[in-house]
């Protein structure tokens, strides 16, 4: 039973991720949910680093925290005419939902534990950016260009919907 620093940091990050995700899910206040989500995103970025995905981790912080979360916060502020500091949200179907979710978790857990994934023994922590750039320009060229069309569509569509009143 030898717990290394790596393991400790993993458990810390996992605790941060799941704890703040729980705050996000069970908080009644939407702003608290957003703050919980912020720390979840950050914790997930840390997990990516432990999985040797440095570039993806920074992109996670950049896009999720710096982009999507700001958009969500703006959405919260814009879509509430509140008479109180609490921006609340209600939950419904609490019991059936928990049953279904716990059921799904049990199934997933069984699958993950019983399957032999045949993991490779050695792996490295080399910087990935250069290789990702090369892959983006070669193997992933078509998804890359399609992503630009997707973004264009999202930009035009969202701007159009948001503008219309």
């Amino acid at each position: 039973m030898n717990i290394t620093l790596f393991d400790t940091i993993f458990y810390l990050l996992a605790f941060l991720t799941l704890g703040s995700a729980a705050i996000m899910v069970f908080s009644k206040n939407v702003i608290y949910s957003a703050v919980g989500l912020l720390f979840t995103f950050f914790g997930v970025a840390g997990i990516y680093v432990l999985l040797a995905a440095d570039f993806v981790a920074v992109v996670q912080v950049l896009v999720y925290v710096g982009g999507i979360l700001i958009l969500l916060l703006f959405g919260v502020m814009l879509s509430n005419k509140i008479t109180n500091i609490e921006i609340t949200t209600e939950t419904l179907h609490f019991l059936p939902a928990s049953l279904v979710v716990i059921g799904i978790f049990v199934v997933l857990y069984r699958v993950f534990i019983t399957t032999d994934w045949n993991p490779v023994g050695s792996y490295n922590f080399d910087p990935t950016t250069h290789e990702i750039g090369t892959l983006l320009m070669t193997d992933y060229l078509i998804p890359f260009e399609i992503a630009s069309i997707l973004l264009l569509g999202a930009l035009i569509g969202a701007a159009y919907i948001a503008r219309k009143d």
Partner: protein, 146 residues
């Protein structure tokens, strides 16, 4: 690579602890004398009116939206810029297509006026308020109202 990120994590924790310690220290040193007027929110010395949860201009959202799309685009530009020296012409053309498609989006929001911030309505010039010029004054009022 891991230890580099480890130092950063350490810095984040250290920064948070540093602020907490400072605030705690100041808690211990300060004299506290709170009373209701002091604890009310500041509104230029007037009594606070209404609640602060005003409706925001939708512009804020549109700006954040355009920002998000361009941010994602830039995320792809970074690894491209790193390998650009090695791949040369080929990568450059691919990037031109990518950026070109997104510039269409910028041109679209630009043309549709989404990049304009709401300016305060133009204050009508004084002569429009003259009584012999009622028609244009009405016109201005209508345009302001619409």
């Amino acid at each position: 690579m891991l230890s580099n990120f480890g130092s950063i994590l350490f810095f984040l924790i250290f920064g948070a602890v540093f602020v907490c310690v400072n605030i705690l220290l100041s808690r211990l040193l300060q004299t506290r004398n709170p009373y209701p007027v002091k604890l009310s929110v500041y509104e230029c010395g007037e009594l606070p009116e209404g609640n602060s949860w005003i409706q925001f201009n939708i512009r804020f959202y549109v700006i954040a939206l355009i920002f998000l799309i361009f941010e994602v685009e830039i995320v792809f530009l970074f690894p491209w810029a790193v390998v650009f020296k090695d791949l040369g012409m080929f990568a450059f053309v691919e990037m031109l297509i990518f950026v070109g498609i997104l510039l269409v989006g910028l041109a679209y929001v630009w043309a549709k006026g989404d990049l304009e911030w709401d300016k305060p309505e133009q204050v009508p010039s004084p002569e429009l308020y003259r009584t012999d010029n009622v028609n244009s004054a009405v016109k201005i009022t209508e345009s302001v109202a619409s």
